[in-house]
Symmetry: C2
Subunit: 924 residues, 2 copies
């Protein structure tokens, strides 16, 4: 085959990274746009694959002839000769695939050194020590990489000499010592491989090329590609770059440095980087000498600084992207050794995107596509200072992003007490319940030892935008003893901890955090995103406060307002409990009547805040037992209370006896601890009765599989008065807004629908209530009536549901559980991690929409629904609605909106724009 194996940097196509590797392509590109790159060439990735495919791994016929041919070009470009004793050319041999795989494959420097060429190098550099140092390094690196000799054999010899001559550090070694070491290293190679170290330079080169090729199939590289999901269509085989060596350590007119075309930390458009005079690249990395900021080069070598500024400008102007580049100054001549797209943090990416657009370097679409939406998360929550290294004490699930520190407190009441007093508090519980809600408000963050990412703690914390680590199973919480244990370590109440809800880590002590930065550049970028995106981005927000947050984050409405969250407030929960404990419809109605004005007030405030955006209110969804304490808690409490009653009775008896015997009052026993000292038996009996009643109800409401139980519209049908109250609250709130001239767009949404009959049932309540409210307020109401699609059967019946529902909202949390038959809490604790590890499932379907299964259902549902009601509005309000990959899919199946927790709204806005921009490239 007349396949072309090799491209010189003058001829290779800089766009063809697949063939030439990233590094090779960039070196070609730079060479061809006139940047001073050391002469060299690149052997293609295709050659690598051909080589790896041969049975005995032999290089293709003629490859080495071509290499020799190309080497003549390099010799010409440098004026040196490969293997020449007087003016020897040295080269580096480097791997480079289409995807960057840092440190994963092998590089050999200074190839071409041998006993013959060494004097030539000494002559070229006038530095004997440098020559021998290079030599011994080359022997070891080549020995290890190309010949498979373990480092330890070299290191032993090296240490022996070092000790003998009394050298503290490597630089204490003289040229003589290094020469001795080089000789010893040559012996090591001979001993270990049974053959002398290859002296012929083309033999060295051939072995090195093979070694680089082999490294592509090595364990390290294979593991890396699996870990980072690099598939053959992304990178297949490595190219080999053979490049003339240049030296930054040839005196004070030489230097080496690295740079970014913009500040990667801030994104600022400025010279950025570091350099060392008279040094090699390794020295910058090794940290033995402290490099100087590039600005100082302006004073030290003003001319070269100017050249460097030119280089930087040339790179950005050419690549239209921030570049991370390496350079060497060899005797006053600037060489650019490498460039690649610069990795920046979120702040840097956002600012540079906006500025590069404003500078005309890129257009808006490019600006939008540059930023990874997930990266924005860094900007929206406090985060641990990455400079501060600390070891995690325990790990849980990253349940609500952000970092927070505070005193750990083990119950909500005390958390409130201490939190309100101004102290920072982390609420630590085994798991939380609605009745803990006041503790959430008062805390910086929440840590639980049980429950998953949809546990009460996680969902509520996300809604509030507070940090939460959930299900940290290593922590044993002992509420009674007011302490927690992690292995041997005991955490007492009041000890300060830090939790990182973005990683799930828990730390002892306070760790400094960086504040969120919702910069003006971010706002600009997101406004561009909104112009482009087709999907609207709504927020899941349940309270007036949350609605304000949603607006701050740029939500275009509320896609999910969970009415039950309003029930959870301290002043409401007792009424809700009263409602649940009611045994008659009348008693239930009495409690509901108390809730009505509260809910109406909430809705009104939310509608007002969101005006003129739509607000989708979901009617009550969770099973009623979620509002009650757990059976375990109640039995514990009852046990304690009964014991307390016994104590009180005992004390009373003793007191009576003493009174009768007229004893000295000083002999009276000390009173009970507060607050029980004033608690009479009667009061305690009252409490016991109440708790017993609750316990009976909890047992009555017990469900084997609450996820599939008595909830959602099933509650609305069995207790129609609950839905009737909520619907009235929504419509009365709407009426009041209309009266006040506020432009509102309320929507009523029914959860857990499985059949069209259920929807009809609720619709009837809505119509009756509407007529009554309109009559009472003397106005007409406009609102929409729709359904959650979170039950598989609802998908199957979509065309029928769409006859009644004016909109669909996919509840992909529940829909995914039902589609997989995975209970999220159980799956994440029991088998999902193994499923992800072994590749049975690539992602956690509760975070990333399962496009193949759940997505297939959704896509059919949209089609069937719109067939029956043209233009049916369809959205998603599951957690996946804030995940960029899922958003791309939602765009693909033509949804109208996504709704996610408020802090993810900016991410979703950017992702929605990218989904539109990349729609042609989408594949399931």
């Amino acid at each position: 085959m007349s396949e072309k194996y090799i491209y010189s940097y003058h001829e290779g196509d800089g766009k063809n990274k697949h063939l030439l590797g990233g590094k090779g392509a960039n070196l070609c590109e730079m060479t061809q746009i006139g940047i001073n790159v050391p002469p060299g060439f690149v052997i293609t990735t295709a050659t690598c694959l051909t080589y790896l495919d041969t049975p005995n791994r032999t290089l293709p016929d003629g490859l080495m002839d071509d290499v020799k041919q190309e080497m003549q070009g390099v010799e010409k470009g440098t004026g040196k000769l490969f293997g020449d004793p007087n003016n020897p050319l040295l080269v580096s041999v480097r791997s480079g695939s289409a995807m960057s795989m840092p440190g994963m494959m092998d590089t050999i420097l200074n190839l071409g050194l041998n006993a013959e060429t060494l004097p030539g190098v000494i002559k070229q550099t006038g530095d004997e020590r440098f020559a021998y140092d290079s030599y011994r390094r080359f022997i070891q690196l080549f020995g290890k990489v190309a010949l498979g000799v373990a480092d330890e054999h070299f290191d032993k010899q090296f240490e022996t000499v070092k000790q003998r001559v009394g050298a503290q550090v490597d630089v204490d070694l003289s040229a003589e010592n290094l020469k001795e070491i080089s000789d010893l290293f040559l012996l090591v190679v001979k001993e270990q491989t049974g053959r002398p170290f290859p002296e012929k330079v083309y033999e060295q080169l051939e072995i090195a090329i093979k070694a680089v090729f082999n490294s592509w199939g090595g364990k390290r590289a294979v593991d890396y590609r699996r870990e980072f999901k690099i598939t053959p269509d992304m990178a297949n085989g490595t190219a080999v770059n053979v490049v003339a060596m240049v030296f930054g350590n040839m005196g004070n007119d030489s230097a080496t440095g690295v740079g970014f075309t913009r500040n990667p930390g801030t994104g600022e458009n400025e010279m950025y980087g570091e350099y060392l005079v008279n040094a090699q690249g390794e020295d910058v990395v090794a940290g033995t000498r402290t490099p100087k900021p590039v600005q100082e080069l302006e004073k030290e070598m003003p001319d070269l600084y100017k050249q460097l500024v030119d280089l930087r400008n040339k790179l950005e102007n050419h690549y239209h992207e921030v570049q991370d580049y390496e350079y060497t100054i060899e005797k006053g001549q600037l060489f650019c050794l490498q460039t690649r797209n610069g990795k920046m943090n979120a702040v840097g990416m956002v600012r540079s995107s906006v500025e590069m657009m404003n500078e005309g370097l890129i257009n808006k679409n490019q600006a939008l596509l540059r930023v990874n939406p997930e990266q924005l998360e860094q900007l929206l929550h406090p985060r641990l200072d990455p400079e501060h290294k600390a070891e995690a004490l325990a790990q849980g699930l990253p349940a609500s992003p952000g970092a927070a520190s505070g005193k750990c407190i083990f119950d909500a009441d005390r958390a409130e007490l201490i939190g309100r007093s101004g102290e920072k508090v982390i609420l630590v519980r085994e798991e939380t319940k609605p009745e803990d809600i006041h503790g959430f408000f008062a805390s910086q963050g929440i840590l639980t030892s049980r429950g998953g990412k949809t546990s009460h703690a996680a969902v509520v914390a996300r809604g509030m935008g507070k940090a939460c680590v959930a299900g940290a199973e290593g922590i044993k919480v002992d509420t009674r003893a007011r302490q927690a244990t992690i292995g041997d370590q005991v955490l007492h109440e009041g000890d300060v901890i830090t939790i990182d809800g973005s990683s799930g880590n828990v730390y002892i002590g306070e760790i400094p955090t960086l504040p969120p930065t919702f910069s003006k550049e971010l706002k600009t970028l997101l406004s561009w995103a909104d112009e482009v995106a087709q999907l609207k981005v709504m927020a899941n927000a349940d309270t007036p406060d949350a609605a304000e947050k949603a607006i701050e984050y740029g939500a275009m409405g509320i896609g999910l307002c969970r009415t039950e969250r309003m029930f959870n407030d301290v002043d409401r929960l007792p009424i809700v409990v009263e409602m649940i404990l009611s045994d008659t419809k009348e008693a239930r109605q009495t409690a509901l009547n108390k809730l009505l004005p509260i809910q109406r007030g909430d809705f009104k405030a939310v509608f007002k805040t969101m005006s003129p955006f739509p607000v989708t209110v979901r009617l009550l969804d969770p099973p009623l037992h979620e509002f009650l304490p757990s059976e375990m808690q109640l039995t514990d409490e009852l046990e304690n209370l009964r014991q307390l009653r016994g104590t009180i009775q005992g004390v009373a008896n003793v007191l009576n006896t003493l009174r009768v015997s007229q004893a000295n009052p000083n002999d009276l026993p000390t009173p009970l601890p507060a607050p029980f000292d004033e608690m009479g038996e009667e009061r305690i009996n009252e409490i016991i009765n109440k708790k017993e009643q609750m316990l009976r109800k909890v047992r009555e409401l017990y469900e084997v599989n609450p996820m599939l139980g008595h909830r959602g519209v099933r509650l609305g049908i069995t207790y129609p008065e609950i839905y009737a109250m909520q619907i009235r609250a929504i419509l009365e709130a709407s009426a009041e807004c209309v009266k006040e001239g506020i432009d509102i767009h309320p929507e009523i949404m029914v959860p857990q629908v499985t059949t069209a009959q259920e929807l009809k049932h609720v619709k009837k309540i809505v119509e009756t209530t509407q007529a009554e409210v309109e009559a009472a307020y003397g106005l007409k109401l406009k609102f929409e009536f729709g359904t959650m699609i979170e039950v598989v059967r609802a998908c199957m019946r979509a065309s029928h549901l769409a006859e009644i529902a004016e909109f669909f909202s996919f509840g992909t949390n529940d829909l995914s559980q039902a589609t997989f038959s995975f209970s999220r809490e159980d799956a994440e604790n029991k088998f999902l991690p193994l499923y992800n590890e072994t590749g049975i499932l690539h992602d956690n379907p509760f975070e990333v929409l399962d496009v193949k299964g759940v997505g297939q259902l959704m896509s059919m549902t949209v089609e069937w629904g719109r067939k029956s009601r043209a233009g049916l509005k369809v959205g998603i309000c599951g957690e996946q609605g804030g995940h960029p990959d899922s958003i791309r899919f939602c765009h693909h199946i033509d949804l109208d909106y996504v709704s996610c927790s408020a802090p993810r709204v900016p991410i979703a806005r950017l992702a929605a724009a990218q989904a539109k921009l990349l729609e042609d490239k989408y594949t399931v």
Copy 2:
């Protein structure tokens, strides 16, 4: 419109029941085939609908003219004249719709009686008393039905006269008395309606026709149609039959009777029925005189008996169906008044079907279609004697059909002890667990107060073919006190109860039962069914014993062999528990090694029994915690054990003290009750430790939603050694069978599959094991590898699963739960009854396949699966697989087989045949 309102019996089309009603059509038919029917005509159902649609409910123009016209034909046929004082014609006016709605609509007899015609009747009959009796009856019936006068007004007058004349019973009243009563009744009508009783006969007739029409729209009829799901396409409107009255009470040459063309109880081909000489139809029904068996008529009126035999033969030969007919002999002349298809019990239906086919009256297909498959259930289980009336003490869910009596026993150990001693026992528990299994074997039936139709008790009982009533929530079981309470009633251990697993009723005492009857006729019928059916019928059977039962019932293989049921045997459960309690893979393997030979033995026995039929073995499915006692039970036991330990310590202390004080041995306390008297502290500590270990494991394995938890293939992947053991047991059992020359067809089935990766994972274990077993036994194994389809995602990924699986089996129990997001146990206890009542769902989807939702999924799955693997074998093994409607759907979507519990196999075989025969008529 020139619509024809009326058809005389000579002209109406006997096939057009929709237009003429069932009764009218049959009267036309009989008239036209030469059976002596009293002259008459029928007004169409269409006329009824037209009438009901008019705003003021007026009869269509010209209808009464047509009626008069037709009456002339009746007058001609009878030689009497309507309204004639000398020879008056009397008629009955009866409703009759396309569907039989017994007692739901109105009938008026003797219409045409009035002051003028009464003497004519006396003359005709020579019986004044009869004439007045008919008159007063007519006035009351017409008054009530046509004029809306309540019975009580008539009854008051009637009783007054009766008391005055001292009549004990009605027959004591003289003609004079009845005349007085008639007059009083006429006054009642005048008082109550404000108008005199209509005297004109055509006015009477018109009012009566309207009344019959109106009755179609009356509340009673509307409710009946809703209750029995009679839709307009089945019956729309009622026809009105106007028929000349004939009288069986005109002397000893007159009689009245009812007959079946075959014995409805046994199906035997014989004259069957009863008659009364000189009586009217009401007399037979009223029971004031005891009718005689029809055989006696041969002696009393031999000629008429011969006519009756002719009539019977004519009816069967014409209708090709067993007829239920009524006749009257008026002065030696036989009139057939009515015929309809005879309702028979299952025994009768089956025998008559087979015999009618053998007699050439019907063909095989007709024989198969005659029998309602559900009816067969009567033949397959003992059932309560319907003659014995008893009031149910409580009601639960009909969880496993059949009736059983026995002493109620509250724990499995005692049930075994007492059951083995020969006593009949009913095991009564709150709910059952695998560890109760020995109690099942020893009991006649099982009663639980908790759990649904898929609870452990229900499923195991069905598998064993034992009666079970589950979830009888009215019963509070107190195991410790060895008693149960139902309201105020206390049931002590040993009290005899009867449970009816077909109705869910529970009775105090023993109620006689009828034994099952798997007759030779049933076997014949089912063999015909097998010839016709396209669907194969398999059984769900888990043990060698169950396999034998399956063969008895005619199963063509085992479609679902649940390996975990084999774990539940008394000798295995401790090993399974040991396996679960293991903390290391090695310990687990040790336990599994003990299970291997046991499972292998089971499989071998099952394969042998079923040879040459296929046996589909499902690998372990339930979550491991199902094999352990409940947390509640363990904490209870531990509490008791700890208290016991305390007592033992206390006793020991006292004994020591006494020993020290050398007290009189007679003062020593009595020892602990057996078996604790010999239990030392050490032994009790051992037990406590074991239970504590179990409790820890139970808590570790706790799941929020076990239905969606760590089970099925998820277990197989997290603990591959469990599946490896089971697969080895299956393949080694197969190898042993092959060695013995037995023709077997084993299939390995993986439960709870959600992704193709899971299947691949298990397939790999299968392949490895296969290679090892084949090598060890020196032979090749043939078997199939397939998957359950019980997870929605598996449906979505059917085409991918079919690349690996050689067969699919729909697990519609779980699939229905996932599709509806209904946990069966929770739904059936909490909201499903209300859903069925209010018509939100017509059926319980766990009994009858939800064709619109789950069926839609199944249908897509079959299509996608077969697209990827042509001819893919697909079956169903959920409970619905034994339900006739579901079987029709399975046939419709072209499944290969259904699999159900063994006792439902005969039902399924017949249903499968009917599904084939009726396939053209199927609509979803």
